[in-house]
Structures are given as structure tokens and as C-alpha cells.
């Protein structure tokens, strides 16, 4: 009861003090504002990037291994030169590997090329044409909006048919049914047998939505007689990804006849690599953000401490009066801590008022939201800064001698 009364009195005093010194209070909170804006924007950006990244990386498939000539992440120029020198990964090798692998749910070799696509009057250049087998639908968990995927007979024997991404379908057919119509890919006729469900954009890479999928046989006939294959292996749930990766590596080494002791002349890629790299980048951004935040909160905190010392000095007489009529040390301490915390909280609120529209602007690029977690964190951090920075001045006030304080003018 006693504490509650002192607390509300503290709030009252803080409010009057801040109102009486509006400009001073506002200027003091600048450091706090910068700090809190940084922390909210960083938090929001990282959360947003994370969501965007996870969304786009999910199409890669967490349980799919990609056997191919090059690594997805090339860390140095030397590595790049080494990878350029690697032998091609041929379709025959891919077939041999598929014969030996017994731990896959599904496997599909594939390669792609850019081509012009035409339907009637409408056409598009530089569309990615992807040659693969019927199993690709299972590897990539594709869903169809219309028609069906390529059949085993079509991909084994070779027939000029294709399945198109949702974006290609909208561009060429403008909402009309596509199945049964003939497209021209680099001038050769292909019949549309299916349209894929929309998958959404991928960060950097090209989404399946804007691709045309054709049988591997036809790809080698019409686009590239010696394709550079990427073999996708969807690993069975019975086996761990690491074990599968190790076994696959041995098989590929044998098929490509890599002498024992020599390094691999191929790469096995997986989603994890990208996720790890992203985590590193996000971690770096977060670290820098935290540093800026810490620095500006520190500077802001010093400002608060300074202004609170001034406030205590200005109100020495008031402290004396309050003590004379019965305020204890605790009472005075609480009063000034509340004032410091209130100034900082005000800064925190202003910072959120700045961050909010910025977050809305960010939403055009990444799925950013000012989450309740970030908001409450920002407010907690600013109040805490106030309490820490205000402690020394408040302590000095609390310990003042009442007679000396009363005598001051």
C-alpha cells in the first residue's frame, strides 16, 4: 500500500518534470531513440529475411541431395578454377549411379537451357527449359494445377511433350486452359500435358513457376547432346541424410573412377549449406546491429545520467522538503528512477513510432512485421537503460542530508 502510493506519486512527479522540460527530455532521449530504432529494425529485418529465406529455400527440399559438377558455394577464386576443370557429369554416369543407389525415395537427373517459347502470337525469350525424367515430380513434390506430369513412357522413350510453370501458363495462355495446345520451344513443337501449381518466388534462383519441363530424351535431342547433369536424390526416410551422403559419395567416386586418395571431382549439395550460410550472414547483421544498438544505448544512457544529475541538482530543495515531511531514502530513489525510466520509455515509444512506418516500407521487399516480441523487447530495453543510467543520480538524491538540501536555493 505504502509502496503503491509512493510509486504513483513517483509517476506524477516524473510526468510533471518531463512536461516542464519537454525539449530537454526530447533531446536527451535521442541516443535511446537511435538505439531502439536500430534494435527494432534489425530484429524485424532478420525475422523478415529469415522468413523469406526459409520460404524460398523450402523448394530445394531438406531431404534432397544434389550431385553435380560444382559446389553451390564457391569460397575462393582457386576453388572456382578447380571446379571449372572438373570433368562433365554425363547422363550415362547419372544412370549408373541411379542403378546402384538403393536408399532413395526418388531420383531424377536434370539439366536446363534458356530458350524462346512461343504460343500463337505470344512469345517469351530466355525461358528456362528443364530436361528431366518422370520421377522429378516426386523428388520436388510437385503438384499439378491442370493435366498431369510427364509419364515414364514419355521420359524413357522421348516424346515432344511439356509441363509448364504457372507463370509461363499465365503469360502465354492468359488464364485459358493450356493442356492439349502446342508450344514452340526454339522453334520445335511441344504439346502441353500439364500446368504446375504455383510455388512462389525463390531468393536469387529461378522458381519452377517460370520454367518449362520436358523429357530428358528430347532435351538431348533438341537442346544439348551432352548435358551437364545435376542428379537429385530424395533420400528415404529410413536413412539419415549424412549416411546417405557418405554412401552416395562412394558410389559417385566409383562411377567417375576417382583414384583412391584423390579429392572428389564433383559436389554433393544440400539445403543445409545454404541455411548455414544464411545463418552466418544473419548472425553478422545481427551482431553489427547489436553493436550499434549497444553503443547508442550506452551514449544515450550517459546522456540520461547527465540530465538526471542536473535534475537532482535543480530539485535539491524539493528533495529537502520531501524528506522533511517524511520521505525515506527509498522514496526519493524510486522517484528519480521512475523519472529516468519514464524518459527512456518515452524515447522507446518514439523509436517505435519511427520504426513502424519503416517496417511497412520494408514489407515491399521482405515479409517484415513489427512483432509483439520486438516491441516488448524494445520497451523493456529502454526502461532498463533508464533505470541503470538513473541509478547513480537517484542514489545521490536519496542520500542527501535534509538540512543541507533545505538550505539550498
Amino acid at each position: 500500500m505504502k509502496l503503491l502510493g509512493e510509486f504513483t506519486e513517483g509517476l506524477r512527479i516524473a510526468w510533471t518534470a518531463i512536461r516542464a522540460n519537454k525539449l530537454r527530455s526530447a533531446l536527451t532521449t535521442l541516443g535511446i531513440i537511435i538505439g531502439i530504432v536500430t534494435v527494432t529494425l534489425m530484429g524485424t529485418a532478420i525475422e523478415g529475411l529469415n522468413a523469406a529465406f526459409m520460404n524460398s529455400v523450402s523448394s530445394i527440399g531438406a531431404d534432397v541431395l544434389y550431385v553435380q559438377r560444382r559446389d553451390w558455394l564457391i569460397r575462393s577464386h582457386q576453388e572456382w578454377i578447380e571446379m571449372r576443370k572438373r570433368r562433365e557429369f554425363t547422363l550415362d554416369q547419372a544412370k549408373e549411379i541411379m542403378d546402384r543407389v538403393d536408399f532413395a525415395q526418388a531420383m531424377a537427373p536434370g539439366d536446363s537451357h534458356r530458350a524462346s517459347v512461343k504460343y500463337g502470337e505470344r512469345s517469351a525469350d530466355g525461358v528456362r527449359v528443364f530436361g528431366t525424367t518422370w520421377e522429378f515430380a516426386r523428388v520436388a513434390s510437385l503438384e499439378l494445377m491442370e493435366g498431369r506430369f510427364l509419364s515414364a513412357a514419355e521420359t524413357d522413350g522421348g516424346r515432344p511433350v511439356c509441363v509448364i510453370g504457372s507463370e509461363v501458363a499465365t503469360n502465354l495462355f492468359e488464364g485459358n486452359p493450356a493442356v492439349g495446345h502446342r508450344l514452340r520451344l526454339n522453334g520445335r513443337g511441344y504439346e502441353v500435358v500439364g500446368v504446375l501449381e504455383k510455388r512462389g518466388s525463390a531468393l536469387g534462383g529461378e522458381s519452377i513457376d517460370s520454367q518449362v519441363v520436358i523429357p530428358m530424351r528430347n532435351f538431348t535431342l533438341d537442346f544439348d547432346p551432352t548435358p551437364d547433369i545435376t542428379l537429385q536424390v530424395k533420400v528415404s526416410e529410413m536413412m539419415s541424410l549424412d549416411d546417405a551422403r557418405e554412401e552416395l559419395r562412394n558410389i559417385v567416386r566409383r562411377v567417375r573412377r576417382v583414384p583412391p586418395g584423390d579429392p572428389d571431382d564433383f559436389s554433393i549439395n544440400q539445403q543445409d549449406q545454404l541455411v548455414n550460410m544464411f545463418r552466418q550472414v544473419a548472425g553478422t547483421i545481427g551482431g553489427v546491429g547489436l553493436f550499434i544498438t549497444g553503443l547508442s544505448l550506452f551514449v544515450g544512457g550517459i546522456g540520461i545520467m547527465n540530465i538526471m544529475f542536473v535534475s537532482v541538482a535543480e530539485r535539491t530543495k524539493e528533495i529537502g522538503i520531501r524528506k522533511a515531511i517524511g520521505a525515506k531514502r527509498r522514496t526519493i530513489l524510486i522517484q528519480f528512477l521512475i523519472e529516468a525510466a519514464a524518459i527512456c520509455l518515452l524515447g522507446g515509444l518514439m523509436a517505435l513510432a519511427i520504426s513502424w512506418p519503416v517496417t511497412l516500407a520494408m514489407r515491399q521487399f521482405i515479409p517484415a512485421t513489427l512483432s509483439p516480441l520486438v516491441v516488448s523487447l524494445a520497451l523493456a530495453v529502454s526502461a532498463l537503460t533508464g533505470i541503470v543510467a538513473g541509478f547513480l543520480p537517484a542514489w545521490r538524491a536519496a542520500r542527501m542530508d535534509p538540512v543541507d538540501a533545505l538550505r539550498s536555493e
Binding site: G5, E9, E318, A324, I325, G326, K328, R329, P402
Partner: protein, 230 residues
């Protein structure tokens, strides 16, 4: 039992290498209900004595019993409680909080005493009425005259029903007519049984009390009753 009992109280200040004896070995008893005026030349130690009696300060040596308890060795926080409960101060410069209304100023000791808000309001209102300022209670100190401010200060001093009312030159900043008004208020309070100790320079003011204590160089020079006025 005396309300106030000072035994061999001294108060010294260290100023550089020099020791200032503001009070030297004072012994004094004041009973409940007394009305005492303290007089003496400037620098004789009147305010120092008031601060000690009011528990704002502690003696360098000696023992001070207030209401039967020894307060000379108490720490800051205990003294704050004693001040809140037992003492009401009236100062020469009023010492009201400038940004608070008269009513809030009067309420303040009750906040520190831990009363609930509604109860506080009631008690504070009554105290304001007692000094005849209910129509000014929402005004701030700078919107009140000197006499009105001192009335607010008296209301604040009395709101907790303290044992002692301490007034250090309460009329020092007032013109003679308003001063007389305040002294009339004090006489009323004394008649109702309040214990009042008052510091003043003016013989005229001191004659309102029933006992005059004269101090010189930190010592009690004389201690006489005042003859009742004709």
C-alpha cells in the same frame, strides 16, 4: 513525562580546520501542549536547535528523547518515519512544492504515511478547511498570497496530527498584518492543545507564546514564562 527531553546536547560543525560550536551542552524539557518561543541573535544556534528537535539533524553528543523514545542514534530512514509521524514543519520561506496544488501539498505527508487515496483526500480536505482555504485548494503556490501559502504550509504540517509543530520564523517573510493573522492561527492551535515551538526575532511575535527561551552562542541564556496578557 516530558514530550521533548534534551540532555547535554551539542552540535558541532567542522569547517576546514576550524570547529564551530553551534550548540554547546544544552539540556531542555518541553511538555505536551506548551507554546515556546526561541529567541536570540543571528548565528546563536536557533535553527540548529530546531533541526535537532525536528529530527532533521542528529546531535554530535548528548541524548534526545522524543515522546519517550531515544531518537539521537536513529538512522535516516527511522528519522524520516519519526518526522512523518511526530513533527510538522512550518518554514520562513513556506517550502511548498511549486508544481503541485495546495491540496496535493497537504496530501504529501499522508502519501508517505501510506494512507489510501480516498482516505488521504478526506483528511487533506479537512486540514485545508481548518486553515480556511477550501476555495483555493486547487491553486498552485505561485497563485497564492504569502499569507495563504503559509496557511497551506500550516495545513501540511498538521495533516498527520503530529506531536509538535515547529516553526522557524514563520512570519519572517510576511507583512505585519498577515503575520498577525498567522500568529492568531497559532494561538488557536495552541488553545486546541497543540505543542508549538517557534523561532523568531521579534519580541512582539514571541509574546504570543507562553514561554520564551533565549539562546546566545549555543547556550540557553534564559528561560522564562510569559506573563498572561491583560
Amino acid at each position: 513525562m516530558a514530550l521533548i527531553r534534551l540532555q547535554n546536547i551539542s552540535r558541532r560543525y567542522q569547517m576546514g580546520g576550524e570547529t564551530i560550536h553551534a550548540l554547546r551542552e544544552i539540556s531542555l524539557e518541553i511538555e505536551r501542549g506548551e507554546y515556546v518561543a526561541i529567541m536570540g541573535p543571528s548565528g546563536s544556534g536557533k535553527s540548529t536547535l530546531m533541526n535537532l528537535i525536528g529530527c532533521l539533524d542528529t546531535p554530535t553528543t548528548g541524548r534526545y528523547e522524543l515522546n519517550g523514545t531515544d531518537v539521537s542514534g536513529m538512522d535516516d530512514n527511522r528519522l524520516a518515519e519519526v518526522r512523518n509521524r511526530e513533527i510538522g514543519f512550518v518554514f520562513q520561506t513556506f517550502n511548498l512544492l511549486p508544481r503541485s496544488s495546495a491540496l496535493h501539498n497537504v496530501e504529501l505527508p499522508l502519501i508517505y504515511a501510506g494512507l489510501r487515496a480516498e482516505e488521504r483526500r478526506q483528511v487533506a480536505l479537512q486540514a485545508i478547511r481548518d486553515v480556511g482555504l477550501e476555495d483555493r485548494m486547487h491553486h498552485r503556490p505561485n497563485e497564492l498570497s504569502g499569507g495563504q501559502r503559509q496557511r497551506v504550509a500550516v495545513a501540511r504540517a498538521l495533516v498527520n496530527k503530529p506531536s509538535i509543530l515547529l516553526a522557524d520564523e514563520p512570519t519572517g517573510n510576511l507583512d505585519s498584518r498577515t503575520g498577525e493573522e498567522i500568529m492568531a492561527l497559532f494561538a488557536q492551535l495552541s488553545n486546541r492543545g497543540n505543542t508549538i515551538i517557534l523561532v523568531t526575532h521579534e519580541e512582539e511575535v514571541a509574546l504570543n507564546a507562553r514561554r520564551i527561551l533565549r539562546i546566545r552562542d549555543g547556550l540557553i541564556a534564559s528561560d522564562d514564562p510569559v506573563a498572561p496578557r491583560p
